[in-house]
Symmetry: C2
Subunit: 140 residues, 2 copies
DNA sequence: CCTTGACCTTCCAACTGTGGGAAGGATTAA
DNA sequence: TTAATCCTTCCCACAGTTGGAAGGTCAAGG
C-alpha cells in the first residue's frame, strides 16, 4: 500500500501521514526500492486510531500517549482515563469561555437595532462605555 | 507615553502592540527623537477597544472592521450587528462541536474502570471497536 | 562624568495542525 | 515512447502569542 492508498484506507491525508511520521507520532513507514512509503494493516490501524482521536479533539501529544497505552497490553486503564478526563476538563473549560463570549455578545446584539442608524450598544461596550444592565439608573 | 506605559494603560502587552502595528491593525505610533514609540490617549483607547474585542473572541480581521466602523460616525449599526452575529454563530458552532466531543468522551470515560486493569472502552472506541451503546445485544 | 539597571528598538524563531505548491523521480496505461 | 498520475522532499502560509538575542536610550545614584 502506498501513501495514497493508505490515505484512502485511513481517512488521513497523505500530507498529514508524512507529517505524523516526521514528528514521530507514527514510526517511519517502510520504503520500496523506489523510495515510496509502504504501509501495512498495522499502520492503517494506527492511522485510523489517530484519525478518531483527532476527531475527539485530542492533541498530538495526547495521542502519542494514547497510542503507546494502546500498544501496551499491561496498561492500567487509569492512565487512559486520566488523559481522557484531562481532555474533557480542557474542553469544558474552553466551552465555558466561549459560551460566556457568545452570551455576552448575543445580549449586546439583541440590544442593537441593526438598521441605518449609528447607535450601537456593541460598539459602546467595546469602547469601554458600560451602561447599566438593569433598569435605567444614573450612577450615584 | 512610551510602549511600556501604553501597555500598562491598555492591558495589551508591548509585544502585541508592536505586532498590531506591524499587521496594520493600528496605525504606526509616533516616534520620539530616539525612535521610541509615543502613544496618545486615542491610541490607548484603540488598544483598549482591541483588548476588549479580543476577549470576546473576535479575530484580528473582524476587529479591523469593527475599528473602522467605530471611527465612522455615519456607520449603520446593521454592519456592526452583522459582524457580531456572524461571530456568535461561529462560536456557537464551535461550541457544539466541542460539546459533542466532550459528551462522547465523558460517556466513554464513565464506562472506564480507571484501575490497574487494561480493559478500556476509551481505547476500544478509538481503535474502531464499536460496542453497542444500548443493552447488550449481538449484532444481527 | 560614568556606571548600572530598566527600558526601548529590530529581527528571528517557536508553538498547533493543516493545506498549498514547486521541482523532480516513478509508475502505469495507451 | 509518451502522457497522466502518482510519489518524493522542501519551503511557505495561516493566527496569535510568546520567547529571546543584540544593541541603543534613559534616569538615578555614586
Amino acid at each position: 500500500m502506498n501513501i495514497g492508498q493508505a490515505s484512502n484506507a485511513s481517512g488521513v491525508t497523505a500530507k498529514m501521514i508524512r507529517y505524523y511520521e516526521q514528528i514521530g507520532l507514527v514510526r517511519p513507514a517502510d520504503r520500496t526500492d523506489s523510495n515510496y512509503r509502504s504501509f501495512g494493516e498495522r499502520d492503517i490501524n494506527d492511522l485510523r486510531f489517530i484519525k478518531r482521536a483527532r476527531s475527539l479533539g485530542f492533541s498530538v501529544k495526547e495521542i502519542t500517549s494514547l497510542l503507546s497505552l494502546w500498544r501496551d497490553r499491561a496498561r492500567p486503564s487509569r492512565e487512559v482515563k486520566g488523559i481522557a478526563d484531562g481532555h474533557v476538563a480542557d474542553l469544558r473549560s474552553r466551552i465555558a469561555e466561549m459560551q460566556a463570549m457568545a452570551d455576552t455578545l448575543s445580549a449586546l446584539s439583541d440590544c442593537c437595532a441593526g438598521d441605518d442608524r449609528p447607535d450601537c450598544p456593541i460598539l459602546s461596550d467595546l469602547s469601554g462605555d458600560k451602561p447599566a444592565k438593569g433598569p435605567a439608573q444614573s450612577p450615584s
